[in-house]
Subunit: 339 residues, 2 copies
DNA sequence: CATATCTGCTCAATCGATGAAGCAAGAATT
DNA sequence: AATTCTTGCTTCATCGATTGAGCAGATATG
């Protein structure tokens, strides 16, 4: 009979009328605290049944407006085009849902302006908490949120105004570099420096990884020429053109590389294929990030896989505990070998 | 001075008080229809400035509660672990934002129960429209939404109760199979059937692709044994174990395969590596879906890349036009060759 | 028997934004 | 001078759910 007016949604008032009771009772029953509000089990059952029959769904807008906490949790993330961010988002959703929180996610395409815009929009939607993943300018985001009294947590890239959860970039890079150096030495019988390529020279992760890269070289007694650190950005095109330019400047290309993300690796691999350099012998590669197909590209590739489950548990650990002290949790990544 | 009470958010009432005017005027100014409401430019400017100073942000929950349209658009998506869904989500967000809509996305892990649960939650948040991507049971989702008067559109998998936008699965599969058959014939000098592996035998896409697969074989005059159609599910593990079982049952493994998604390809490749079969000669592969690293796996792989930009334009075309007739838009995919 | 306590509800204010209706003062028209 | 229009606002009800306060009747306690 209400099939004739499909546009109108059932509200607690409709249910109250049908049940011959008050909206207040309906609300109490449907949000589960009817015992606290001393509603009889009989009435509770009646209302629950009616709600089901009528296909009732709470109006979250009304509910959130009234309550003090929205139970909405936001995340901003740079891209969805690789397994790292993909699994971050999947885990985030799963853990949020497990806690009865509603996750909303926005992808910012690595654009600082969109980042702020997205944060502002999330504040408008009354998020209780915002996780900023790989934010270009985490502190600006934090300031915005702080002004609205909203907690924030940095993931992947650390900030100075909120707790952060990141990988142990230095440790991972140190170990990755060691392995690739060893692979090169094993094949060529002599120590030679690697090329570092990809990432932004200004971001914390890249800086830490470069530090690990340098320290591993120092450890091995191998000097690193400035030209060998190419923090050209993440995009495949940028990595590709950095390779091209490097090849123009030197004929003595490095035998191994540290590629700072799968996304940069895409460009590097493309250049290797197209340019014909390394035609007889593939360079030894180390990739900071993991992808199942990269793992199949050959046995000359070492990877660092960031421990996403542990990172997100750390994030929700902070959220659950309510901690707001500005700490940086470093999660050790996992070494993976191709093949 | 309001730094002391950071928890309390500025509302239009606060701004009204500060500006010595009414909340109504503030609202009119801030949502842009102050001309229509005959507010003077002078007051408008004053309010705008104040809002900026105070870091005011609308409470969307209140705003949506009052309005008839929420301008929230929902999407449910199975996974974030491959480039296809990753780009769908990125495009969806971009196109939604360009229209002033707020996108909310939920990943259902291919779980039908979660699918319905997610749809219900989105209805609670008053979405104006829901795009169901790759839904296991699109029609159930549609029914839910229809009861609430919410429009829906199917993406990737078609449904029978709402407009759908999908790839031309048959055409893509036909062409892909032709190419892989030709590659095999070129190398081995004789025609031989391929193996179809991955996907769910019950889903529309898989059925269409199997049809294309069969027709291409028929065209070439090559009979297809039932054992050669292995719709074992998408997960890598399932593909891997299907390969294992096939190898146990026959020593005469096919020289080429049609792999029904990159995610299944992961399992197939893993099995190829581990089992040692195909050690001398890699099989010719066709993969229905594209991934940049798969493209680098060797020159024996052909891929079908679904035309995500065009698919999402079609989706928003339907949304913009307000059409609700139950049509299926088929977007031709793009053939890509490895290397 | 009188009072206190408990049970099972209802009432009404509230969250913040929106917009129809209305009102006062000035400008234009007859 | 009287009337109508226009301008620039304000008032107030409303969206739907939540929750403190309160109230009637039943039950327990002194």
């Amino acid at each position: 009979m209400n099939r004739t007016t499909p546009a109108k949604r059932t509200t607690i008032y409709d249910l109250a009328e049908l049940a011959g009771t008050s909206a207040s009772a309906v609300s109490a029953v449907l949000n589960g605290n009817w015992k606290k509000r001393r509603i009889s089990a009989k009435l509770a059952e009646k209302i629950t049944k009616l709600a089901e029959e009528q296909g009732y769904a709470v109006n979250m807008q009304a509910s959130v407006l009234r309550r003090d906490r929205s139970k909405i949790i936001g995340m901003i993330v740079p891209k969805y085009d690789n397994r790292y961010f993909g699994s971050i988002v999947e885990q985030f959703e799963a853990l949020a849902r497990a806690r009865g929180l509603f996750p909303i996610i926005t992808c910012t395409m690595r654009d600082p302006a969109l980042e702020l815009e997205a944060a502002r929009t999330m504040l408008s939607y009354q998020v209780d908490c915002l996780v900023a993943t790989g934010a270009t300018d985490p502190d600006r985001v934090m300031d915005l949120c702080a002004a609205a009294g909203v907690r924030t947590i940095n993931l992947d890239l650390p900030g100075s105004r909120a707790p952060s959860v990141i990988s142990d970039n230095y440790g991972g890079a140190l170990e990755l570099t060691r392995r690739v150096l060893a692979n090169c030495e094993r094949e060529y019988g002599e120590k030679a420096p690697l090329l570092f390529i990809g990432g932004r020279g200004t971001d914390h992760n890249t800086m830490e990884r470069v530090r690990g890269f340098r320290d591993a070289h120092a450890e091995a007694g191998v000097p690193v020429d400035e030209m060998l650190v190419q923090t050209c950005g993440y995009a495949p095109e940028k990595a590709e053109s950095a390779m091209r330019q490097l090849a123009e400047r030197t004929s003595d290309l490095p035998r191994g590389m540290f590629v700072n993300s799968t996304i940069s690796l895409e460009g590097v691999m493309r250049w290797i294929r197209r340019s014909g350099h390394y035609a007889e012998r593939m360079p030894h590669l180390g990739c900071f990030d993991w992808d199942p197909f990269v793992a199949m590209l050959g046995d000359h590739i070492e990877m660092v896989r960031q421990d996403v489950p542990r990172m997100l548990e750390a994030v929700f650990g902070i959220i659950d505990s309510g901690a707001t002290d500005i700490t940086v949790v470093q999660v050790p990544p996992i070494m993976e070998k191709a093949g």
